[in-house]
Amino acid sequence: MRVILISMLFSFPMQCLANNYVFEAGHASLQEWLLPDEVPSPKSNPQTQQKIALGKQLFFDNRLSGNKGMSCASCHSPDKGWADNLPTAIGNKGKVLGRASPTIMNTGFNDIQMWDGRSPTLEDQALGPLESDVEMHTDMAELLLFLNNSAYTPIFNRVFPSKGVSKETMAQAIAAFERTLVSNNSPFDQWVKGDSGALTQNQINGFKLFVDSEKGNCAVCHSAPNFTDNGFHNLGLASFGQEKPDVGRYAKVPIKLMKGAFKTPTIRDITLSAPYFHDGSASTLDKVMVHYIKGGEVKTNLSPNLKVLSLTNKETSDIIAFMQSLTTPPEPFNLPVLPL
């Protein structure tokens, strides 16, 4: 009996259990954190290589915007973590907008789009910035005329034989391209797959704290496998305390709980897409942690899932080290040649 107890005491740090996880590289309990091999796509818009290539051209083409000076990539740039590294986005005629450009990395895994969830699909989301007066300010009739009288026309006819150029097919092609943006080969992924050297001990400790609801409490919203619950939470950001704050999800779902709530973003590739939060108010991950440790700045209508955290400096730095392990090493990205 004594032997068993001693053996249990010694084995506990190696197999520390929290949320039923065993924190050993490759352990079966961790596999839920691996993304599916394929990004789901709707039956009405199956992935094809030609469609993805067309979507890539459209994504990077400034001629889609009203003033011919903006493309999707203006706010979702491959060299800026598929965001723009600005606190809040810059729209039509240099207007500074109210919300940060979210990364579109891994957005194909999400079942709801936009900070306020107003788009149920990537196809719907793809048209949002085009049709927004303050974003790309596209004259849709003019754009369709251009696409129908340019080198784009035969490409559309080849990719969409029965439909050709239309608003719908343009959105489908852009969405198909966005579904190719996947981060699933980070050091954390390697560790979950069984490479025991992929994470440092600090990062493993950070992961334990991340999923522990009594410590970091991070996974309550940043849940497996894409580090988002696709849910909506008011994080108590200082901007919510300002006069006439951005009400976020409340504009779509007028339930008190949703006032000031925004969608949980993925934190995969988080090191590439600073600043953080929907208002870009945290320039570093350290500042993000300071906010969460306080349990939010503005307590009005705070998400019930948020609470004051009790973390030492070492624990905080371990959680940050863990989040830094969620970045897939970037690979060279080839820009498309645009049709004339």
């Binding site: 309550v220 696709n230 849910g231 909506f232 339930i255 709980l257 949703m258 709530a261 019930p304």
Partner: protein, 104 residues
Amino acid sequence: MILRLLIVMLFLSSNAYSASPVVVGQKDKAFTVETINIKVGDKVRFKNEDPFFHNVFSLSDTAFFDLGSFPKGEHRDITFDKAGVIDVECAIHPSMKMTINVKE
């Protein structure tokens, strides 16, 4: 006397039975049933079985309500007094959806 007592007990237990709510769980970020069929006057109990907060609301014409947010182990009851179809969601986790068919 014993007979009277038995009748009272029978009445109480029958009342208790008819007042039993239809229980719908909230587990693994989903409602435990997709659809339930109830009658006007029936009570539905939403019970949170997840280790984080959930909400229950509906913006349906038949029943417009918000039961707020509540943690694991807690529940919220609501009685439906009008026939119709009610789409129910969790505002925090919008993929959580279910339908209640209330019949006369």
